[in-house]
């Protein structure tokens, strides 16, 4: 019985301590001491302590998250979710996507580490960053399947020229377009809280 109650209280204090994580150490300790003393005094007040009594007492004390929120407000500490920090990771990704080959590869990988872009944004970044691979593959396929040894009279040859052009130009343009798109998405998200995913 006593151990059950002790475990309840220990869990409550542990929860409170972790909720107070971003407070200066001396404030956190002071508050923990006070709540600890409160619990001790409340228990001394009870004639016959039951588990229900202790639960009620902890309920009256309140949710540790509420106490922590009040403590942050009263001591001028910013809540954790508000983080107006510079999104270096995202900026690096956008810059890399403009640098051919190695930059494209790194950009396509880094984009997945971001918490600010959505999965769709990340897919766009990846496909664009690796488009030269697809383009290169396509070029090889087109030239392989093209009119071998038949100089330019065939209709198929003239038709394949624009396609080849697209396959050559697209890998150069797509990563830049994706970088611009991701940059715009980033600016839009800058004011909003960080995505949870």
């Amino acid at each position: 019985m006593t151990t059950e109650v002790d475990a309840l209280i220990a869990r409550y204090l542990q929860d409170l301590e972790s909720q107070l994580g971003d407070l200066p150490a001396n404030r956190r300790q002071e508050l923990l001491d006070e709540v600890h003393a409160h619990i001790a005094a409340a228990r001394a007040d009870l004639d016959l302590e039951t588990e229900a009594d202790v639960r009620t007492m902890l309920e009256r004390l309140g949710d540790p998250a509420d106490i922590a929120a009040e403590a942050r407000e009263r001591s001028g500490v910013q809540a954790r979710p508000a983080r107006p920090t510079t999104p270096w990771l995202e900026i690096a990704t956008v810059v890399l996507l403009v640098i051919p080959f190695l930059g494209w590869i790194l950009g396509a990988v880094l984009v997945w580490l971001s918490r600010l872009w959505t999965t769709r944004d990340k897919l766009i970044g990846t496909v664009a960053g690796l488009s030269w691979l697809l383009g290169g593959l396509g070029t090889v396929m087109v030239s392989a399947g093209g009119p071998v040894g038949q100089p330019g009279v065939d209709v198929g040859t003239t038709g394949s020229n624009p396609l080849e052009l697209i396959l050559v130009v697209a890998p150069l343009v797509l990563p830049v377009a994706a970088a611009i798109y991701l940059g715009l998405r980033l600016r839009r998200r800058a004011g909003a809280p960080a995505a949870t995913g």
Binding site: E30, L31, E34, H38, A41, A44, P64
Partner: protein, 116 residues
């Protein structure tokens, strides 16, 4: 009224007044944390979770409105007692005067509803 709205209304009213309620409780004698908190929570609607008073007490101490001293307790470990400083007493007196004027004005408006 919607519960959420009622809750936020009370929260707003509490925000500016709670610290003076604490000062008022200390006007006549020093008190230790638990005693103070229980007296406050007996006042209807003033405190929803008792634990949130402790950050406020810390704030009042840092602002120099209260000081704390340790005293032996008849049972268990020593207790931290809170007492008003001269500055705390002045703050309480000022609030008291302004509160009377404020509530008088609001009461009058609520009762007569703007009719002459």
């Amino acid at each position: 009224m919607v519960p959420a709205k009622r809750e936020s209304l009370i929260t707003q009213m509490r925000r500016g007044t709670l610290e003076y309620c604490v000062l008022a409780l200390l006007r006549d004698q020093p008190r230790y944390g638990f005693d103070l908190v229980r007296s406050l929570s007996q006042a209807d609607g003033l405190v929803t979770s008792e634990g949130t008073i402790y950050p406020l007490l810390g704030r009042l101490r840092r602002d120099g409105l209260v000081t704390t001293t340790w005293h032996e307790s008849p049972s268990g470990p020593p207790r931290r007692y809170y007492q008003l400083t001269a500055e705390g007493r002045r703050a309480l007196a000022l609030f008291s005067t302004e509160w009377d004027r404020f509530t008088d004005a609001v009461d009058r408006l609520l009762q007569q509803g703007g009719s002459p």
